[in-house]
């Protein structure tokens, strides 16, 4: 353990060190064959560095799980800042160190982050480097990617809130840079700005919250602020304000209502970025922050003080989950569907955490831990599944793009010849030319796809398994955790005093069914039926590197059952619990019993009913409607893999049985408003125009006239003085000697005057 801990610092430091190196090398060797070919424009360096981080993380994690005790905090590796402050007339010295803090939650997130970073780095080798648009600027991508990884890993390992915040901001910066990777597109530049500014709103609140926390505790170290005695000593009302502020920060980072507007636009970034930052890791930072508030809620001294805050968290979660799922119904862009799905699933976790915090604050420790564990497990499952889904969607988009190029080049043999003649140097140009030629074709639009199940077997499988996990098909990944969340929300609403929890509880229940619909819709639109465009007909799964992460994550997601068997939920919530590696089967049995049998607790029967209802609507009703609307047989002669073929044929059978006309729905005002994302963006724009812009104008006036005026005055004065001095400097030696004489006189006067 201690061995690994000694090297743990390198986990965030390595990528930080490597990122400028890639930038530098990239700028020096840009365009050379070696750099483009062997080095993958820095991709190899990034992959090796992240691979090393993953290795170190696993070493750390294995060592950590091997030891039984609860938390490991490598105190302070070193003092980072130390300063003195005068307080009540005394000089008090403070210091802020940098250390590592490990408990079950951070261990889990460390694994998620390093594992996904590594897989997505491999994915990028295929995705980014084979696209001529990215040629000669991939080093920028990999450098920013590494910096992001450093931010995420550092945030997970930080042992105090200040470092957590610093790394949090590093991630925000990288998110901004990577969304705007194609900064020449106005939409990407806009999306980057929007994401940055929206999350900034949350970050300001977070900073205020942390400052209040500092004021209360005189420290931001986890070990200090979580200490029972320290919590008991502070004012509950002030602490609640701090926690609320921190929660707003989490809302911004995790794209929850009402700060959710940036996430769908963030899909302008390259797909690996969407997979890593906007699905699998960074957006979990908000959840992690809320999870880190657990000790405050669980403190006996604060019992009953924060119930309203917990309910607020659950409400925000429920509303976002429902709203995002609703908008996802009408999205045709495959990445946008996934973006809203991400929002919705994160909202699930918020609801679960809200319930967990509520239970913790009302003294129901056992069930609080259960809800907390379920939320964390959902985070784990969702990260794995959503990372995979995004990569699979990237695979689809990439191959669609490729096929589109093929098709359009066959269309004009002239340009093909030109390309062949110009050779490698002309590829870039040709690619850009190609883009201009047929910009109207949208490779991300699902209505251009269809029937890909046979053409992209690996991607289709990955997508199916990922969707199943998100939907919560029994026994697969997300099922184990979603049950827990829905159950916990209902349990809370049925507990005395928890009536307010009923709304989120109902919302998450309904959303479960909606999830079943929109995820299935996405799969069937993309993979089932006949190809809707000639481009989709020409798709071939061929890009190297992309299948590696897809297969790995498919196995991971299917293996969710094994993790469930480890009693992961119990383990992650309880710092003193052990991982049950040995009795996987009995562990699965316990979890199955939890999921499918009524528990003996209070309201057990009702909870049982709710969970059963969840299973039914999410597994059967939702997908069935999707099948009826979007299912269909593949084109003649196309054969999907057997494990997909039954799904496709089932969908076509369902569709034939139910002729289900949804045109009235599709043309209704609701659908229209969903297309407009429920007008949030419009409202925000209007509010900006009414409030922020006038204020900004006032600030600009102040800046221009008062501040600049003062500076200009100073500048003017300096210029005047300067010209006076220039006139005194005549350039004549005689005058210089006169000046020496005057100076001597001046010295005499000054010194005699004093003496």
């Amino acid at each position: 353990m201690s061995g690994a801990m000694d090297y743990a610092l390198w986990i965030p430091v390595l990528p930080i060190v490597a990122f400028p190196i890639i930038l530098f090398l990239g700028n020096v060797f840009k365009g050379t064959d070696l750099w483009r070919g062997k080095w993958k424009e820095g991709g190899i360096i990034a992959t090796v560095v992240i691979g090393t981080c993953l290795g170190l993380s696993i070493w750390l994690i294995v060592g950590y799980i091997g030891q039984v005790t609860g938390n490991e905090s490598v105190g302070q590796i070193g003092d980072w800042l130390s300063f003195h402050m005068v307080e009540n007339g005394n000089l008090v010295s403070y210091s802020i160190g940098f250390g590592m803090y490990l408990d079950h939650v951070s261990v889990m997130l460390l694994f998620v982050a390093s594992f996904l970073c590594f897989l997505i780095a491999i994915f990028s080798l295929g995705y980014m480097n084979s696209d001529p648009v990215n040629l000669d600027r991939n080093h920028r991508f990999y450098a920013e990617f590494l910096l992001f990884c450093a931010g995420m890993l550092g945030m997970v390992l930080a042992d105090n809130f200040l470092w957590l915040f610093i790394f949090w901001e590093i991630m925000g910066l990288c998110s901004y840079l990577l969304i705007g990777f194609y900064y020449e597109r106005p939409s990407a530049a806009y999306a980057a700005k929007k994401a940055f500014l929206t999350t900034r709103v949350g970050d300001v609140f977070l900073l205020i919250g942390l400052l209040i926390l500092w004021n209360l505790f005189g420290s931001l170290d986890f070990s200090v602020v979580w200490a029972e005695d320290n919590i008991a000593a502070v004012d509950a009302g002030t602490l609640k304000i701090a926690l609320f502020m921190m929660f707003v920060g989490a809302v911004g980072k995790s794209a929850q209502f009402p700060l959710h507007v940036w996430l769908p636009d963030a899909m302008e970034g390259p797909t690996p970025v969407s997979a890593l930052i906007h699905a699998a890791t960074m957006v979990n930072a908000g959840l992690y922050l809320v999870a880190r508030m657990f000790p405050f809620f669980a403190s006996p001294a604060m019992e009953g003080e924060f119930t309203d805050l917990a309910i607020l968290i659950a409400w925000i979660g429920g509303i976002t989950a429902f709203m995002a799922a609703l908008i996802a119904f009408v999205q045709r862009d495959i990445k946008k569907v996934l973006a809203y799905s991400t929002m919705s699933q994160l909202a699930y976790i918020f609801t679960g955490l809200g319930a967990a915090l509520w239970f913790a604050n009302t003294g129901h420790e056992e069930i609080a831990l259960l809800a907390f564990g379920a939320s964390m497990f959902h985070l784990f499952n969702h990260a794995m599944a959503k990372g995979m889904l995004f990569m699979a969607s990237g695979s689809v988009i990439h191959e669609m793009h490729h096929a589109h190029h093929e098709v359009s080049h066959h269309g004009s043999s002239e340009s093909a010849e030109r390309d062949a003649g110009v050779g490698a140097a002309g590829v870039d140009h040709a690619a850009h030319g190609g883009h201009e030629d047929h910009d109207h074709f949208d490779a991300q639009d699902m209505s251009n796809m269809g029937g890909l199940a046979s053409k992209m077997p690996i991607t289709a499988t990955a997508m199916a398994v990922g969707s199943a996990s998100i939907i919560g098909i029994p026994l697969i990944g997300g099922f184990w955790s979603k049950e827990g969340i829905v159950g916990a929300a209902w349990q809370a609403s049925l507990t005395p005093g928890g009536a307010w929890m009923l709304v989120p509880a109902v919302l998450v229940l309904i959303t479960a069914g909606m999830t079943g619909f929109y995820m299935s819709r996405m799969w069937f639109m993309t993979f089932a039926g006949k190809p809707k465009t000639p481009v989709a007909n020409g798709v071939v799964e061929q890009t190297p590197f992309i299948p590696i992460p897809l297969v790995t994550l498919t196995v991971m997601t299917l293996g969710g059952v094994v993790f469930a068997g480890f009693e992961f939920i119990h383990w992650v919530a309880d710092g003193d619990a052990e991982m049950h590696f040995t009795n996987v089967l009995s562990g699965i049995g316990v979890e199955l019993k939890h999921a499918f049998l009524p528990s003996g607790e209070e309201n057990g029967a009702l909870i049982y009913l709710v969970t059963m209802l969840t299973i039914v609507i999410s597994t059967i009703v939702g997908p069935a409607i999707a099948m009826a609307l979007y299912g269909g047989r593949l084109a003649k002669g196309e054969k999907a893999k057997p494990w997909l073929a039954w799904l496709v044929s089932l969908s076509s059978r369902v569709r034939r049985k139910n002729h289900f006309d949804n045109s009235t729905w599709a043309e209704s005002g609701l659908a229209d408003s969903l297309h407009q994302r429920l007008y949030f963006d419009a409202w925000y724009d209007a509010a900006m125009l009414k409030i922020v812009v006038p204020f900004a104008n006032a600030c600009a006036w102040f800046d221009q006239h008062i501040i600049d005026g003062a500076i200009k005055g100073l500048e003017y004065g300096s210029q005047e003085g300067s010209s006076v001095i220039r006139r005194l400097t005549t350039g004549s030696g005689r005058d210089y000697i006169m000046m020496v004489a005057l100076g001597t006189l001046a010295i005499f006067v000054l010194i005699w005057g004093v003496a």
């Binding site: 000089l91 001095i725 020496v740 010295i747 005499f748 010194i751 004093v754």
Partner: protein, 592 residues
Amino acid sequence: MSSAGVLEVAEVTRVQLFSEGGDTWLALAPEVTLLSGLVLLFIVPNLGDAKWRIPLTQVRFPVLFGGRRFTATSDPRLPAMLAIATLLLALWQALISQGADAKTWLLTSGSGAEANILLRVDAFSRIFEIMFYAALLLAAVASIDRLPARRAGSDIQQLIDNRRQVDFYLLLLMTAFGMSIVTMSMDLFVLFIGLEIASLSIYVLVAFHKETPEGAEGGVKYFIVGAVSSAVALYGISLLYLWNGNLQLLSNSATGQIGLVERWSEMESLVGLPLIAFCFVLVGFAFKVSAAPFHFAAPDAYSGASSTVAGILATASKAMGFIGLIRILVMLAAPADGSAVWMFGLGVIAVVTMTWGNLAALSSSNPKRMLAYSSIAHAGYMLAALAALGAWAWGGENDVLNSAPTDAGQWILTALIFHLVVLVAFKLGAFLVLALLETEGEVSDTAPLAGLARRDPIVAVSMFIFMLALAGVPPLAGFMSKFLLISGVVKMSAGDAFAAIAAGDGWSLGQMHWTFWLALAVFLNSALSLFYYLRIGVIMFFEVPSEGRRKPLNKAWFLRLSIWACAIGTVIFGVWSDHLINLCHNAALAVL
């Protein structure tokens, strides 16, 4: 200082100059090296196959002087190599003498009742020797490319350059020798001799490019104004001799002679004669550090001289002036109760100097003049620190933060020495970049700098580092030195109030000594100076190179080597400055 300039004999080794035993040679090793180098520079290019025939016989002895020159010794590149080797050896000797067993020597003339204390070799003189040799070494290395010598020169400029190689490097070594004497001198007359050896060499160096009118004009003006100042200073020194009967600073316990320091401190009230003399001497050194209003000739000299020489003017020559100021202000005329008579006058001069320098730099379009004015402004900052030193109640303890150097006076002097030393890195470095540009033509406006980043990013980044260091931006050396200076002045002006503040008793401006405002003036002037330093950055990075200056810069590897050394030094002395600060602290302790 409480012992009024009588050093405890136990600390120092007293040596009679050129007496038996090797002590003289050990103490003066770098100077001996320089002299040997000088002699070699005289001899080697003149070696030839001349023979002398014994009269009335046919026997001929080779005498080696004159005749047909040997090809190896008449190589025009040889003087540069000799000078560099000499300076390197001297630098090395000065450096190793800084080790743990660093000795202090007191060198006297003659023996018995006539012996005068002439030189003192201690940490103070050593650090300045190192600084001078380093600066001159960098300049000498850079001059290989700035003043190129080639075996087969064809054009007239080449022939001219080849013929004056010996002169140039000879003058460089002379400068180094004179400066060494100034650092060590314990006798005002010796100090003056050293000052003049160095100054006269520099006057010639300034006017070295006599084929350009600016060079000749600048050199002559600098010489004339310098001669006037020296004359005034010499007059002051002669008055001091009239007053005391000798010009030694320290009292000589062996002979019973009373030095100037002791005599000054024994004055009951200020006497006219020494005070007049003091003012005159002050004028001489004020010219050397180019304090206003004695600075007028400096910008002309800087812009007329080649940039390497201007770099020496701005660093080594300036440091020489400050050594003189430290000797007469801190050693000689500083009373123990913190009410030095020169404090106010020097403060006024300091503020005028820094403001004048910055304002004039704002509107100069010639980068060499701009750097000259910037160097005047820096002199102002250092004069402000010296003025604050006048408020020091000697030996008073203001130790609050418990860090070395503990005492405000030591702090300021340490900062001053540190500033003078690290100035070599970035001020000389900036001039060397201009020298690199000069290799392709005159630098009289900002056009050669335009778009430098595109032509040569490394040189442009180095120049930008120098500019930032001059402006005092962390983490560069210029920040460290300015920070030490300002905090030293503030510490000094806080005086006893420090303890009260630390105890939490509150603080008001009224408790501060008026020297606090000097710190504020330095601060405001630094802010003002940012404008013209950063403008260089704008010109280099954002403007388009002018016509005819599109190609990559000259290779000039030796010049680049010096620039890199300066850039690295600027960064290193900013980040890892502890060791150098310790050396400077030792040097400061040797004076106080």
